[in-house]
């Protein structure tokens, strides 16, 4: 009998050629609670998804209680005794609590769902999870904390040996969080092995026996919780990584503001954001996942409606304009998810690049396209973003690599000469070479007088490129850091502190 519940040996995982986990080896003792810390994108969730059967490693070995373990899917993992409580909850809100708990495995008698047994067993599990609810309650009536507990009850129904928690407290009130922690304590006392991912370092110190810090897909440090002060954790998480060279600035920002934002709010997401973006400036937005970074960009671009505040582009108020009108005023938005919102994957390269600019290459009144001038413009911009010359304009974008796809999105926007660019994770999921080229382009655009707002989870990227960094936490501006004071640790600390502070206030009375 081995003392390890789970052993990971040399696990490798890449997405679209980009390494996410690099030769990770990690052993977890039976019955311990292991905290997992790391920056966004350090590989924590990927690791958990591999354990939970959602992803398969490219190479390496997993052992479960000393036996080789290769989960092909989440059901398989569940059967092996590994339960996964997700960050975003996976319950069906139209079904009852009982139905959700036993969704994959209804108790039946002669092929018919046995409602009585269903209710009885659900009640037992809910008791164990410390949730006092009738099993027939529809899930849509529950608060997010209660849903979290239902998820746990669901996990308990499978009698797990290991439970994985991926940031379980992000949507909980303080009281619900306390409740969760006492439940975790009870699970521990039953000898269940727990792996707990969180950004909230105080929570880790409170419940974990040991902690492992991931950075760039590798274990940066591991040991008993008591040995890791918060400072040490942050240093480990932020420590210099990646051999990335950032191109030096070409020019300095101009004094006049191109974008002025004041009192920008959207209920529950963003509140009272105020800042200015200057001509030629590269302004970074840092923040943890869920801090409202993307929501801010969507508000600025007009994709979501704002509740209050003003946005002025070159002194003109634009908060009432549609995205289309904002584009006409010189705004551009490179979205976080290029497949979902950035590209028409089945469209050709030419169509995608010219989608925005096409409107200005037409003859009135029929909207007849001037195909020649459009083709020339596309050819010119392709050169400028250094899109792979082997791809024909008529080729579907789907056939390109991630980096080239991202260049297509950039080319689309550059073709309309924007004066303000919102770039949400511009270098996510692309290879180092393409990254470097995109960084160069960003520099050139800034030198050309455009104001650029970069949202990124990679602090390196922000410190390497930006003239100034704003730290967002829980929808508020928590910090503003000038270039002279750039320090990855400070940024991370600030983002985390903001998140912790925001979680604390007693907005917990309402379910």
């Amino acid at each position: 009998m081995t003392a390890f519940a789970i052993e990971l040996q040399d696990i490798d995982k890449r997405f679209f050629g980009v390494p996410v986990l690099r030769k990770i080896s990690l052993s977890i003792f039976c019955g311990e609670t292991l905290g997992l810390a790391g920056e966004n994108g350090a590989g924590k969730s990927t690791l958990m998804n591999i354990l939970g059967g959602n992803l398969q490693p490219d190479s390496g070995r997993l052992l479960l209680a000393g036996q080789p373990y290769r989960p092909r899917n989440p059901q398989h993992a569940a059967k092996a005794g590994i339960a996964f409580i997700h960050q975003e909850l996976n319950l069906f809100s139209n079904l009852s609590v009982a139905e959700n708990v036993f969704l994959t495995d209804f108790p039946t008698r002669a092929g018919i769902v046995d409602r009585r047994v269903l209710r009885r067993r659900t009640r037992e599990l809910l008791d164990q999870a410390g949730l006092d609810l009738p099993p027939d309650t529809p899930v849509h009536r529950l608060s997010s904390g209660q849903r979290q507990l239902v998820e746990i009850a669901k996990a308990l129904s499978l009698d797990p040996k290991v439970i994985l928690f991926d940031e379980p407290t992000t949507s909980l009130t303080q009281r619900e969080k306390e409740h969760l922690f006492s439940l975790i304590a009870r699970l521990r006392s039953r000898g269940i092995t727990l792996i707990y991912i969180s950004h909230v370092l105080a929570d880790l110190s409170r419940i974990c026996d040991r902690v492992a810090v991931l950075r760039d897909g590798q274990v940066a440090g591991i040991g008993p919780m008591a040995d890791f002060s918060h400072d040490r954790l942050i240093t480990l998480m932020a420590g210099r990584s990646l051999d990335l060279q950032f191109p030096p600035p070409i020019s300095a920002p101009a004094p006049e503001a191109v974008l002025e934002v004041d009192g920008l709010s959207r209920r529950g997401r963003i509140s009272g954001i105020r800042f200015q973006l200057h001509r030629g400036e590269i302004l970074g937005i840092a923040g943890l996942m869920g801090s409202g970074r993307t929501e801010l960009a969507r508000l600025l671009f007009g994709l979501d409606r704002l509740c209050a505040g003003s946005i002025r582009l070159e002194r003109q108020p634009i908060q009432h304009l549609s995205p289309r009108q904002r584009i006409a005023r010189g705004m551009a938005f490179l979205t976080e998810d290029r497949r979902e919102e950035g590209l028409c994957l089945d469209g050709s390269i030419g169509e995608n690049i010219s989608l925005v600019a096409a409107a200005s290459h037409t003859r009135r009144p029929l909207g007849w396209l001037r195909l020649d001038s459009l083709r020339q413009a596309v050819a010119m911009i392709r050169d400028r973003v250094r899109l792979t010359p082997t791809a024909r304009d008529s080729q579907p974008v789907r056939t390109l690599s991630g980096g080239n796809q991202q260049k297509v999105v950039l080319a689309k926007w550059l073709l309309v000469h924007p004066r303000v660019l919102l770039l949400d994770e511009p270098a996510r999921g692309i290879d180092v070479g393409a990254k470097h080229e995109i960084y160069n382009l960003i520099r050139q655009l800034a030198a050309g007088g455009a104001g650029i707002l970069i949202i990124s989870s990679e602090i390196e990227e922000l410190t390497g490129l930006c003239d100034r960094i704003l730290v967002l936490a829980s929808g508020r501006l928590h910090d503003e850091i000038p270039k002279t004071a750039f320090d990855p640790e400070r940024i991370l600390r600030s983002a985390m502190a903001g998140a912790a502070a925001a979680a604390a206030p007693p907005n917990s009375a309402l379910p």
Partner: protein, 329 residues
Amino acid sequence: MTQTQSTRRSVRILRRIVASEYLVLFLCLAWFAVLAPVAPGFATPRNLTNILAALLPLLVVATGQTMVLITGGIDLSVTSIIALASVAGSALVTGAGGLLDASPLAVPAGILTMLAVGAGVGLLNGTCVAILRMPPFMVTLATMMFFSGLAIWSTQSRSIHDLPPGLLLAGGNVWISAAVALTVALAAHLVLRRTLLGRWIHAAGQNPKAALVSGVPLQRTLILSYLICGLAAGVAALLITGRLETGSPVHGRSQLLDIIGAVVIGGTSLYGGRGAVAWTAGGVLFLTLIDNSLNLLSLSHFAIMMVKGAVILFAAFLDTLRSRLTTGT
């Protein structure tokens, strides 16, 4: 060894044909070649004229439908548009008590009424889909029932006759019909290929979210595509009314599957984002060839329906297969 090579090669050729844009034209040729010796009179000039006459109205409606399918929608109401436009235009100008009987304006007014009915229903569909964000299938199923009911109810299911010859000219003469249909198809082709609206229609179907972020006026695009589709159905109503010299509330009633089937057989995707008028023309030709040749073989109408149903099912399957191949799932 050589055998596996040659199988591999034939698989490759087969795959290229299946993936080809012009698959349906190959199929038309093959069908023609196979059935010409068997189906008596199939390859005679007279029959070819019949085929042409039969496919023209279908081509016009299917062209409009192509636009809507590219946006990722569907318009089931086209048959009811044909019926309603036919009776509305006819009722206005019929010699048996029409409002504009014997007026010099009768012909243009009749034609304009048909087009206006088409555009009106299209506008309603488009508004529901684009602005109220209702699912196209539901919206157009409902408008199909409503307007088809309206056409039958308002005429008490009677046909309308005594129409002025000018109104019948477009549909009555094959060559004028052909000119009208080709004009519509060419115009739609140019809109899709050479105008901003065409770009928007494709983008809306390929990825509405990305289109919105890229400043495509989604609502306007959707409304216009349904409107054009309705308008095309109005033109088809004119052709059918002229061909049968009758305004009838049941015109087009049994053609819905032919219309959507022809578009899909052509290769326009039911998933949106991919399609062309030229493809649709191929699909229309193929379906009409099947219908005509099997008819000449004296197959029962119901047997022909079975064959057509099978062909359309196969085309839809190919569509799914292709979209799987391209998305790699």
